[in-house]
Amino acid sequence: MIALVIIFMVGIALGALLVNSKVALPEKMLHQLQGQDHTILITFLAYIAASLCLFSILSYTEHLVIDAFSFNPMQAGVGGILMGLGIVLCKAMPISIIPKMAMGYTYAWFACGGAIVGCMAYHLLAKYQLFQLATNIQVPAMHSLLGIPFWLLALILATALIAYGLLRRRQAKSASLGH
């Protein structure tokens, strides 16, 4: 019960962050898709860099184990295409539908209904194995392929992302100062 209360409080912080950073606003997704505003992309890359650092620490302290797993490459691709079409149509990611509903956008309620129907449709269609597009393959985790521990690979990628971000920031500052 305490865990649920803490998760609820995490949700409150998440909702406030999604709105304050403007990531959940529909115009931001529209402008991101049109390439006019990169608020969502910047927030996402910062999230990835911070998560890489976090998972690196958790992996180093053995709180997180990344193993080999089996997956279906064709389903991963088709899933990505369907998700992409969904994002373009409803101008939202799954995480930003609920904030949009709370902000009072009517279409977000339909998006939520569609999302639930989508899950139910998958469940019913999966019974007939309509989405079993190819045989699953066992793929070693990326760090195993490279022969280095996960925490080290995550740290290298996080450092590269942070360095790229700092470089872009410096370039933007120089450009604004007219250097």
């Binding site: 709105v19 304050n20 959940a24 927030t43 996402f44 976090l54 295409i81 995480i95």
Partner: protein, 151 residues
């Protein structure tokens, strides 16, 4: 000095991204789960399927309720910093919202091969299937939005 203290718009985005990542610490410690926005729809769909008699393998448990707690908290968090919807904005119609949501979650389930593809946390865990899914997702977004702009 003021220029140094006042954060730029991009800095606020970066800070938000970092804080969202850090919010995963309690969820990982308490539930061994990372934050994602898709699981709540799966849980609600499972409950509805059971009510409708299509599925009998779902049993509400402590672990299955956390996405609902997260979603409720998110909605309340948004209401606390409420921003009114803009009136002059070109928003998707109701059918675009419905079909978009349907495709979004259908894609999430297909990519996850039965389980839910964790669109946010799968990528920093460097899972191979998430890289493929994200590549196709971005490519589709670029092509489809480019096509919609032309028409």
């Amino acid at each position: 000095m003021r220029q140094i203290i006042v954060a730029t718009k991009q800095d606020r985005c970066v800070l938000a991204g970092i804080l969202i990542a850090l919010l995963q610490i309690p969820t990982i410690i308490l539930l061994d789960k990372t934050i994602n926005g898709s699981t709540v729809y799966t849980v609600v769909a499972d409950i509805l399927l059971q009510w409708l008699g299509f599925s009998s393998d779902y049993s509400p448990s402590y672990h299955s309720l956390w996405p609902i707690a997260l979603a409720l908290g998110t909605a309340i968090g948004v209401l606390l910093v409420k921003k009114s919807p803009k009136a002059n904005l070109q928003l998707p119609s109701w059918w675009q919202g419905f079909v978009g949501g349907l495709l979004l979650m259908l894609g999430t389930r297909v990519a996850g091969d039965g389980s839910t593809f964790e669109e946010l946390s799968a990528l920093p865990q460097l899972q191979s299937h998430s890289i493929i899914t994200w590549l196709f997702l971005i490519l589709t977004c670029v092509l489809a939005s480019g096509h919609m702009r032309k028409t």
